[in-house]
């Protein structure tokens, strides 16, 4: 009996103790939240983005005379965790602004929470239009999918002379579904033939076997296959497509931009072509070149698109806080909305009325086992 009393008291004590611990007076810092997928299917993107944010913090760690404290919460590549992470950042940590997330679904989930709380969020790389549409507090420093889908459709038709295409999408990801939609729209428009998309198949995040879908798709002889999912599945899919005898080009979007694409895809990764946000070779602003040096000094390799975007998102948020002159959510929001020609490492960032950045896209391919820059496409 007494054991139970003790346990009961311990539990009550824990709960009581956690109250002051959580509500303790904070040292005088400005807290910035970061919610990214550090584990799970999208971990590569989250980790790469975090690299950029850490680098940026090293460069600029104070604003309005106070040190900046960055709080990272892992959203585990899950939509529900994204909402939880955001709630935690806002309620428990009391952040004034948030950066994140890689993965449009995750951004959208977290965005619901931040919108209600009136906390501004700067997205680094989510490209689905719905992330910012109709939202007062969500912004992004990257382009959106209507543009990205069109980029790849144009590349397919103009550069590859494709007359027919097949689309394989990840039906669990808003990003993938949206991007496929825009690709399809543009492809049909460019070829003038509504039947030019000969096959449309789908899978779920986490799937490993695509042989059934691929066998079906390949039998319809598309000139190109557009797979709008994330890098892990894309790598496996490419491998299996090659094994099934497909020799055409495989195209994708910025979710392919991760070293795992080549690691897991192996030989099959050769020739994979996709659109993304940034390439060190396509550096456009003075800050870009500086960024390349900084990144290489810290990490010992060439920077990737998501680190660059993470860097930009952080810098932009800090800049907005400075311009707002306060940590009030509405003031920061207004400052973000009026951003004009901010010098980012991924280009000159101007935020339009939909809270999106107007940016150019970079098309890359895998050549000789490494990413290789192909071309830049302007909006």
């Amino acid at each position: 009996m007494s054991n139970k009393l003790i346990v009961l008291l311990v539990v009550v004590a824990m709960l009581v103790v956690s109250v002051p611990v959580v509500g303790a007076a904070e040292p005088d810092v400005i807290k910035m939240g970061v919610f990214e997928p550090m584990t799970g299917a999208m971990a590569a993107g989250g980790e790469q983005t975090w690299e950029g944010i850490e680098l940026a913090k090293g460069q600029k760690s104070e604003v309005l005379g106070k040190p900046i404290e960055v709080v990272l919460v892992d959203n585990k590549s899950e939509k529900v965790e994204a909402a939880n992470a955001m709630a935690r950042l806002i309620d428990a940590e009391g952040v004034v602004g948030v950066v994140g997330s890689y993965g449009s679904s995750l951004s959208m989930a977290g965005g619901e929470v931040s919108e209600k709380a009136g906390i501004p969020v700067v997205g680094c790389s989510p490209t689905n239009p719905l992330v910012t549409k109709g939202k007062a507090y969500y912004f992004r420093v990257c382009f959106i999918d209507p543009f990205q889908g069109a980029v790849m459709a144009k590349y397919a038709v103009d550069d590859l002379d494709a007359k027919t295409a097949a689309i394989i999408q990840d039906v669990a990801q808003d990003y993938s579904v949206g991007l496929s939609f825009y690709f399809r729209e543009k492809f049909i428009e460019l070829t003038g033939d509504p039947k030019s998309v000969v096959a449309f198949s789908s899978y779920q995040t986490g799937d490993q076997d695509f042989t059934a879908q691929l066998t079906d798709v390949i039998s319809k002889n598309p000139d190109v296959i557009f797979s709008s999912g994330y890098y892990g599945e894309a790598a496996l899919l490419a491998k299996q497509a090659r094994e099934l005898g497909y020799e055409g080009v495989l195209l994708g979007g910025d979710a392919w931009d991760a070293p795992e694409l080549i690691e897991i895809g192996g030989d099959a990764a050769e020739g994979l072509t996709f659109s993304t946000h940034y390439d060190p070779q396509g550096a456009t602003t003075p800050a870009s070149k500086q960024f390349v040096d900084l990144y290489e000094a810290k990490y010992g390799r060439a920077p990737n698109a998501f680190a660059a975007l993470g860097y930009d998102a952080y810098m932009l948020l800090v800049d907005a806080i400075e311009r707002a002159g306060s940590t009030d959510g509405d003031a920061i929001r207004d400052a973000l909305a009026s951003t004009d020609k901010f010098e980012g490492v991924t280009g000159w960032i101007t935020i339009d009325t939909d809270h999106n950045a107007v940016k150019s896209a970079v098309v890359k391919t895998v050549k000789d086992g490494a990413f290789s820059f192909l071309t830049i496409v302007e909006p």
């Binding site: 584990t39 299917a41 198949s201 490993q208 076997d209 042989t211 059934a212 892990g232 094994e243 192996g266």
Partner: protein, 297 residues
């Protein structure tokens, strides 16, 4: 659908089914002896894959050595789990062991996330397994043949072990009646450890084949895989090794064929495994090749 296409799908199905079969064998052995659904089996598969991966990537061992060490390591892991998490509960109500298995499963998954990181790793495919063959327009990997061959070899090996050796007889005795076996002088603890070790070793072989075919390894890769392979074992007849193989093949071929014949139903293919389970449990609870298990009152 023309013949070539159908055969291609069939080949894909057999390839996948063979993998399910390999892993299901481990499940069925453990259940046959202990009546325990080892929920942690899928995660043991995952650990085996990571052991091999690190053997090659970190310790730079040649792949045959790394594979062998991974199998041995997994055997010890399985035996260790039995010793620590299942043996103390042998006299407890059956549900406790089940809950313990859940706990072990969760522990393995979370340790993997911390130790191996959340990003997928690329599992190497040695060139011996990477050849592409084409027969009459149907393409497949020679890995598929290795998988099927391994299944058959293991089938024969298990048969010999269980029906032709003294140890096998001990295993069958323990499976029939644990107390009686103990009274007859069989070292029950040792037999059970052996069974677990064997099951884990088989899981490891399955893991290596799986990882070679699907070279992306993740800490949570064993979660659904384990569940599906368990269903395969139940469908084929829990406790029966040929049953596990049959179940695996049915599951693999079924999953592929559903998508092949009804491409619009691609997202429904997951339903196949679970529905098959329910149907089999109603029509023939002991599975297709299972034996009658006396239900103790």
């Amino acid at each position: 659908m023309d013949l070539t296409l159908f055969l291609q799908h069939l080949a894909n199905g057999l390839s996948l089914g063979g993998l399910y079969a390999l892993i299901a064998i481990g499940y069925t052995m453990v259940y046959g002896i202990l009546r325990l659904i080892n929920f942690a089996h899928g995660d043991i598969v995952m650990m085996a894959a990571y052991f091999a991966f690190y053997g090659i990537a970190l310790f730079l061992l040649p792949w045959p050595v790394a594979f062998l060490l991974a199998i041995i390591g997994t055997v010890f892991l399985g035996m260790g789990i039995e010793r620590v998490a299942y043996r103390p509960l042998r006299d407890a109500p059956r549900i406790s062991v089940l809950i313990s298995a859940i706990g072990v499963s969760l522990l393995l998954e979370n340790v993997a996330i911390v130790a191996f990181g959340g990003r997928p790793k690329a599992f190497p495919r040695p060139s011996m397994f990477a050849e592409q063959w084409e027969v009459q327009g149907v393409r497949f990997n020679n890995l598929t043949l290795f998988i099927i061959a391994t299944c058959l070899v293991l089938l024969v090996a298990m048969f010999i072990l269980v029906y032709r050796t003294k140890t096998g007889r001990a295993m069958r005795a323990v499976s029939r009646d644990l107390e009686a076996a103990r009274l007859m002088g069989i070292n029950v603890n040792w037999v059970i450890s052996l069974t677990f070790g064997l099951g884990s070793g088989l899981a490891a072989i399955g893991a290596l084949m799986w990882a070679m075919k699907f070279p992306q390894i993740l800490p949570l890769m064993g979660v659904f895989l384990g569940l599906k392979c368990f269903i395969a074992a139940v469908v084929g007849g829990i406790g029966s090794v040929p049953g596990a193989m049959l179940g695996g093949v049915i599951l693999g071929v079924g999953e592929i064929m559903i998508v092949a014949f009804f491409p619009e139903l691609a997202s429904w293919k997951y339903l196949f495994a679970y529905s098959l389970l329910i149907v089999i449990l109603f029509i023939r609870p002991t599975g297709i090749m299972g034996r009658e298990i006396q239900e103790k009152a």
